[in-house]
């Protein structure tokens, strides 16, 4: 773990040192980059807001819990512990929501239990698909359904594989 925490400071150090050697004006250059931050955020914000409001409705209305319960037999068939079904369902929508669920599972079942380890792999192998689509395709007119569906299918297969692997390891 110690080595990993060195990556970021070293990266900055090396890049800035190279820039200095090449006579780049560091201050001018850095501020020029930061200038793009606000326009970038503005272009993304409407989609981000809509997606997060939707994620909140999805969870708070109990809809996610209902779907999770409905899917339980299907999950059991695929070897996914039903205890993590809400996590699998929330993960594509909300990063903070799934992090909260993950720590809840850890404290309920113990961080070293099979269920907690499945939850950890389910959390780590997937991504917040809808959130990324909102940010990356902000304002794009192209059809979005294909890449979203593909990513969801791939991530779900990853959860199935992860739970299977954890029985072996």
């Amino acid at each position: 773990m110690k080595f990993v925490s060195l990556i970021i400071p070293l990266l900055f150090l090396i890049v800035f040192a190279v820039a200095l050697l090449r006579r780049v004006k560091l201050y001018d250059c850095f501020t020029e980059g930061v200038k793009e931050a606000v326009p970038l955020l503005l272009s993304v914000f409407p989609y981000l807001a809509a997606m997060l409001i939707l994620a909140e409705l999805f969870e708070a209305s109990g809809l996610s819990r209902m779907i999770a319960e409905f899917l339980t037999p299907f999950y059991r068939l695929l070897g996914i512990p039903p205890e993590i079904s809400s996590l699998v369902l929330i993960k594509p929508f909300s990063g903070s929501g799934s992090t909260a669920l993950l720590s809840e599972i850890f404290s309920t079942y113990g961080a070293d239990s099979y269920i907690a380890r499945c939850a950890a792999v389910a959390y780590g192998s997937g991504e917040t698909v809808f959130y990324i689509s909102a940010v990356y395709f902000a304002g794009a007119k192209k059809k979005l359904l294909r890449p979203i569906l593909i990513s969801l299918v791939a991530n779900f297969s990853g959860v199935v594989l992860g739970c299977l692997l954890l029985r072996i390891f």
């Binding site: 820039a19 980059g33 992090t99 792999v121 990356y136 990853g158």
Partner: protein, 188 residues
């Protein structure tokens, strides 16, 4: 996306009508509040990384990274555009290293560039790569397990790595298959 939005919105709205109508607006406002706080933290992340990337670009280090990734990126994204390749290559490297927040600004700009060139396939490919998680080290999970008193917090490393490598590979293959099918149908 419009269909998904409408479906979830109506289903949730109906559920609120029958359970607790007072909580409906509260939930929406909470979502809006999350958007506001998240935007601020995103802005701080963009400030640091966009500044850093500009320095990296001017120093020529970005050119090195993209040159190293070019043969792979050309095949993956089917483009010759150097600027787009260097943005996408930076996005992929930042993902692999797990630099928190760094992939997003590069990914957005690469996607915008791909779409402006009418290269929808490349935008989709970049999205699938990002949305199936490329991270080599699941830092959040390990930190959380450590905090919860796990005996060996990093023992999920290998299964997670295998699962995430599998998801990315499957995503890329599915997209390639879908693209080939779509082309054949258009040709017919």
């Amino acid at each position: 996306m419009n269909a998904i939005f409408a479906a979830i919105f109506f289903a949730a709205c109906l559920l609120f009508l029958f359970s607790d109508p007072d909580l409906f607006l509260a939930a929406m406002l909470k979502g809006g509040q999350k958007a506001a706080t998240l935007s601020l933290s995103l802005l701080s992340v963009y400030c640091v990384w966009l500044g850093f990337f500009k320095v990296m670009e001017k120093s020529g280090a970005m050119g090195c990274v993209s040159r190293a990734m070019t043969p792979l990126a050309r095949r993956l994204f089917r483009t010759q555009d150097k600027e787009a390749i260097s943005l996408a290559a930076g996005n992929l490297s930042a993902n692999l290293l797990g630099l928190p927040g760094a992939p997003t600004p590069l990914g957005i700009r690469a996607t915008q560039r791909f779409l402006a060139q009418n290269n929808g396939f490349a935008a989709e490919m970049l999205f699938v790569l990002n949305a199936t998680s490329l991270q080599l080290l699941p830092t959040t999970v390990i930190a959380l397990r450590l905090a919860m008193g796990s005996a060996s917090p990093a023992d999920i490393f290998l299964p997670t790595l295998l699962a995430t490598a599998f998801t990315t590979l499957l995503g890329v293959l599915l997209l390639l298959a879908a693209e080939t099918c779509g082309r054949k149908r258009r040709a017919r």
